[in-house]
Each structure stands twice: as C-alpha cells, then as structure tokens.
C-alpha cells in the first residue's frame, strides 16, 4: 500500500506516518524502485493500536515503550495496565486542579464586573487580574 492509501484508511495524515517512522513507532517501510514507501497490511494493526493508545491519553513515547515491550517478546499487559492506571490518577489530580481554577475564575469575573474601568491603573495593566493590593507588598 502506498502512503496515500494507508493514511486515510488509518485516520492519520501522511505527515504523521512519516513522523511515526522517524521516531520509531513504525518500522521503516519498504520502498518501491522509485523510493515510494510501500506498506504491508499489518501496518494498519499497528496504527490502530497507536490511535487507541493515543485516545487513552498516552504520549507517543509511552506508546513506543509498549511496542518495544511487545517486540522483545513479552506481552506488555502489566506495563499497559500500569500506564492506564497512572493516567487515570493523573486525570483525577488534573480534574481537581482544573475545577478549582474554574471556580476561581468565576469568582474573579464576578468581582471584575463590579470594578470600574476608570479606577484601573495603567501600570498594573488590569486591576481585575492584578489587584493593587498585590502590588503594595
């Protein structure tokens, strides 16, 4: 298969395919006599895996780690479970942080709407974000 056939079939761009090859997520593709990449069918399985792993929030480096595991012969299941559980814990923390930030933003906007633009000092740029009391330290 040519790159232009693999790409839409796998839901990635040709740019991404060349990139994956460059960083080692895909084995170097065979070339035709004129230098075009010629992919075997199995590349679609590999790409499906990469997309599934990305959808789960794994970085390409982590995905590569799983592939290396696999290529060394051992099923990467344990490793993958660790990654997934680690990701889920990251998300717990992240969601917590973002929720707090969002609440602060809403409070900030609330206060900001009650401030008069005329009372805003140019030096501070914006007294909503940068209240004068912070500057008085």
């Amino acid at each position: 298969m040519r790159i232009g056939q693999v790409a839409p079939h796998a839901g990635v761009t040709t740019k991404a395919l060349r990139y994956y090859e460059r960083v080692g997520l895909l084995p170097a593709a065979d070339r035709t006599s004129s230098g075009y990449r010629d992919y075997p069918e199995e590349v679609l399985d590999r790409l499906r895996f990469i997309r599934a792993a990305q959808a789960v929030g794994l970085a390409l480096g982590e995905i590569k780690g799983v592939i290396v595991f696999r290529e060394q012969g051992s099923p990467p299941c344990g490793h993958v479970l660790e990654l997934i559980e680690g990701r889920a814990s990251d998300l717990d923390r992240r969601i917590e942080e973002l929720g707090q930030l969002r609440d602060e933003l809403r409070q900030l906007a609330q206060r900001g709407r009650s401030l008069s633009p005329d009372a805003c000092s140019p030096d501070l740029v914006c007294h909503i974000l940068n209240p004068a009391s912070a500057s008085a330290r």
Copy 2:
C-alpha cells in the same frame, strides 16, 4: 535593577525575562554602558500582572493582547472579562472530557485485568488497548 535582581524578586527566571522581552511582553530594557539590562521599578508591576494572568490560565499571546489594549489607552477590563469567562467555559468542557476519559480508563483497566496475556496477539501489540474486534472491521 539588574536582571539577576528582578528575576527572583518577580518569581521568574532570567531566561523568562529575556523571552518576554523578545516576544514583546516587556518593553526592551535599557542597557548599561557594558550592555547589561537595566530595569526600571515598574517592570515588577508588569511581571506581577503577567504572573497573575498566567495563573488564570491565559496564554502569553492573550496576555500580550491585554497589554496592547492597555497601551492603546483603553482599560482592557471588558476584554479581560471575556477572556476569563471564555477560559472558564473551556475548563467546563475540558473537565467534562477528562472525566469521561478517566471513567473509560478505569473501565478499560478493569477489563484488562481480566484478560489473559497469553491471548494477546503480537500484531495488535496489546489487546487491552487494541481489542481484536476493532481489527476485524
């Protein structure tokens, strides 16, 4: 003030200060006769603003937009309120997405723990992330 005094006082690195100058968040600092940056006191107000805006999740480009607003004479309050409210809405969506992703990950891990590593096909790399049914399409 020299750059090495400004930096710790404002809670940023000297690298960041030079970067802010380069991208236009800070005006070009005066220089001593030997070429060292010589900052006026007001830079601390500016940096305080930048940090406050960053803490709110604004990108440097957005922060620059606010500063430009300010430097054109008009208080940027309305603009800032829009940014803050937009950010809060982004966060609502983001939190929602991340929550779903986390739930999916937990389910995935649950199922994954019940799968036997022996039943995992090397072509698919990992049957937890890449179930065979997806490949059968």
